[in-house]
């Protein structure tokens, strides 16, 4: 029983907007980072599904997905390092504690 291909797009849209909701609502820095990871994963699913649908002989979408997963792993590492430094200097894990350069 084949899964219809629209199901992948609905899944990707759902994940994307759940990630956006988590990013807007939460104030903890690590929870916001987790929500951004959800958004990136939704985009990866979308790339892979569109490549399989529209372009069956080519691989560009698949490799874009692979490199996007690699890049999101790298920016997770850098973001955790930045969050650790923010905690050391501001002694708080809320995102509204960073207000030195606020306009």
């Amino acid at each position: 029983m084949m899964v219809p291909v629209e199901a992948y797009f609905v899944l990707s849209a759902l994940l994307f907007f759940i990630g956006v909701f988590g990013f807007i609502t939460r104030r903890n820095l690590i929870a916001m980072l987790i929500s951004v990871e959800l958004v990136l994963n939704a985009v990866d699913i979308n790339f892979a599904a569109f490549n399989r649908l529209l372009f069956p002989e080519g691989f560009e979408g698949f490799f874009m997905t692979l490199f996007s997963i690699g890049v999101s792993a790298a920016e997770s590492a850098v973001a955790i390092a930045i969050i650790i430094n923010v905690y050391r200097n501001f002694h708080s894990d809320q995102v509204n504690s960073i207000e030195n350069m606020k306009f």
Binding site: A13, I24, R26, L53, I80, N85
Partner: protein, 107 residues
Amino acid sequence: MMYIFAIQLVSKRTLQGLVEHLKGSRVLFGGIVTVVGLLTVALVLLKNQFIYRACSVADAEIPMETIGTALLGSEKYQYVLPFEFISVFLLACIIGGIVVARKEKEK
């Protein structure tokens, strides 16, 4: 996995009883933005005829061997250069993260 390393840096006693209190107006605003965006995307997706016409192309199974040769080959449309570059890039990001998050030694 990086989350596990970050959580190990914090002691267990400081993690007791830490519950985030969500502000009600912010949750409502986030909920409205999310639902409006989701409805827009779902409507455009399901009313669009493009996908049903593009589906008529029969899809064949791509063997794993072609993906492997494409990832590591050096012909015109193959991906060995981004592969090597992203391995160096990941190494640079890991080293940068460790340097930024080091404990400074008290002199």
